[in-house]
Symmetry: C2
């Protein structure tokens, strides 16, 4: 066969190379730099091509495509959500993504995004809390100790100065796992036997559970004044974590309203219930936390721009590391109109070689 | 680093391996088998999750995602359309696609689709002509001799019994290229100096040009009664190839009306102008060609189900060939909730190794 030309190749970041890259840079540094990238992209929010994710639902889960573009670079993520996967020993959420050049439509990078999604979700949560959590918050309750928990804890440590994380999960094995992984990471880790115990003394409450159903992880009486709630787990139609009464007492901040109204906690509210877009807090067009008694809720569902920021960050950090493989993904005949001739020449080359 | 488990791997079909697979099976056999797969999927059309493609337009082109699912398997294609790429020596259209398991959301196969799109477009065109072209049609005019031309000609030969193809392109070099590639493939190939010359004696007219603008490749007086028009090039908003008067005289057949109304030739017509869905002709719910004098038009824009059929076909033909690489694309910790622990263990393994 003839060798593919340079244009034919797309750098691919495998799971192993993503882990190497994260370890090479340092996980807290990655989270901090990612949060800065995401914040910078939120600050130029109006510039992006935005669309709610394109979801394909089945009885057991959902497969989604999340595209966006800033006019120069295009990105999309493929991501699934299958709560029942865990029972089969599979990931609830797996993902990969792609960056492409808007001017040519040619892919720039393909990357695993299962690890990267956990990182970007945590970085987004902590970035939002920086704007919304009460001053001097140092203790966080973490309800739901699955795949995302440790990433969330470390992001809040690196970005918001968190010192103590209080862990609770309906499955004690998940809490043990998270406590074990977080040992020696510079946080006081307190495993708890109930959600009530976990929220004791916490100024920030993160909910990150995976059931695809209406659930009440937090009831109204559990949430006192002044708290910041980081609601991560409610992220598709029919999947919520908070009692409706909590929402009615909270100032609600969201990523992209048309998507959050369908997928977030606010699917429980009237379609015109007032919410604030986080990007407007960052640009100063809207107010964040007003006072110490206010309950703030970041109703996070995950938006395409966060994935875009994460992919661009990885792409920018890749140069010189060698932490990628070249994939022969783009057909690149010498004459672009001669796709068929490329096959004919491949045949000729292969019979010459034989 | 620890070795990724079997679940972590996704088979990837590179451009080189796609060419090898096509040559291994034989290109006309691939086109015939592909047309049968596409026809079988059109016959179970109502079963599919259908959505118009998700397009991101810029001044110079478009990047699109085309997802669909039959409830068991999910597929999507990434495809760009950049007419100006050719001047830079790049492909106008490049593509790749993915199959996934609906039950778990896990990817089953990643594949190049630049070559595969040319194959599936040609197979779809010829499959439609089998239902719509006049009986005994053996001569086709091929207007636009770019990357798709030879695939179209061979599909019509293999599936519809085409014997003669008459080539015309505004760029004589494109016609020379197509004529050279088609020499010795069992067709009478007639290079022509004008579109008028190309359509002489042709019962089938294929238009496959790439300008992103309203163009008139065929004027009204060029199209006589009884002809079948296979309109392939008009496939995005603002891009058409046929004069409106031709459409008014034709029986129009389309893939998926909500998409074709936006992207096809019929964007020139009233939104309620009657069209027939091709799948209904295949299932016998609608009439195809009624008589020998009727002008039939397949206003083809390319639909996600065709890509789905093509990906499934490649996937089914891959076993035992070795014509793929395993990509480490899915993070697969031993405990699915322990994504963070996987990174910690990778670090430990790497420091032990060092």
């Amino acid at each position: 066969m003839l060798k593919p030309s340079k244009t034919a190749f797309v750098p691919f970041v495998s799971v192993e190379n993503m882990m190497r890259l994260v370890l090479h840079i340092g996980i807290e540094k990655v989270l901090t730099e990612l949060a800065a990238e995401i914040e910078a992209d939120f600050a130029r929010w109006p510039l992006f091509d935005k669309t709610p994710r394109v979801a394909s639902h089945s009885d057991v889960g959902v497969i989604e495509l999340m595209p966006t573009s800033d006019g120069e670079t295009y990105g999309f993520k493929y991501v699934n959500g299958h709560p029942s996967n865990m029972k089969r020993g599979l990931q609830t959420v797996t993902a990969f993504g792609l960056l492409a050049d808007v001017a040519t439509g040619y892919p720039l990078m393909l990357s695993e995004m299962t690890i990267l999604t956990a990182l970007r979700t945590a970085a987004t949560s902590a970035m939002a809390a920086k704007w919304l959590a009460p001053k001097g918050a140092t203790t966080m309750a973490m309800i739901g100790n699955g795949a995302q928990a440790e990433f969330q804890a470390l992001a809040f440590k690196a970005i918001c100065g968190l010192r103590e994380v209080r862990l609770y999960d309906i499955d004690p094995a998940a809490t043990e796992k998270a406590a074990r992984n977080l040992a020696g990471q510079g946080l006081t880790v307190v495993p708890c036997k109930s959600a009530e115990e976990a929220i004791m003394g916490a100024q920030i409450i993160t909910t990150c559970t995976a059931d695809k159903q209406y659930a009440t992880i937090l009831t109204d009486n559990m949430v006192g004044s002044g708290v910041h709630i980081n609601g991560v787990g409610g992220d598709c139609p029919g999947k919520t974590e908070l009692h409706r009464d909590i929402l009615l007492r909270s100032s609600i901040f969201v990523e992209y309203p048309p998507q959050t109204r369908i997928e977030g906690e606010i699917q429980q509210l009237d379609p015109d219930h007032p919410v604030t877009e986080l990007w407007q807090v960052i640009t100063g067009q809207a107010e964040g936390r007003r006072d110490a008694r206010q309950i703030t809720l970041f109703d996070s569902v995950g938006f395409a721009i966060e994935d875009f920021s994460a992919l661009r960050y990885v792409h920018s950090r890749l140069k010189g590391t060698g932490l990628y493989q070249d994939l022969d993904m783009i057909a690149d005949p010498d004459d672009p109109r001669d796709l068929f001739g490329m096959i004919l020449r491949a045949e000729a080359a292969s019979s010459t070689a034989a």
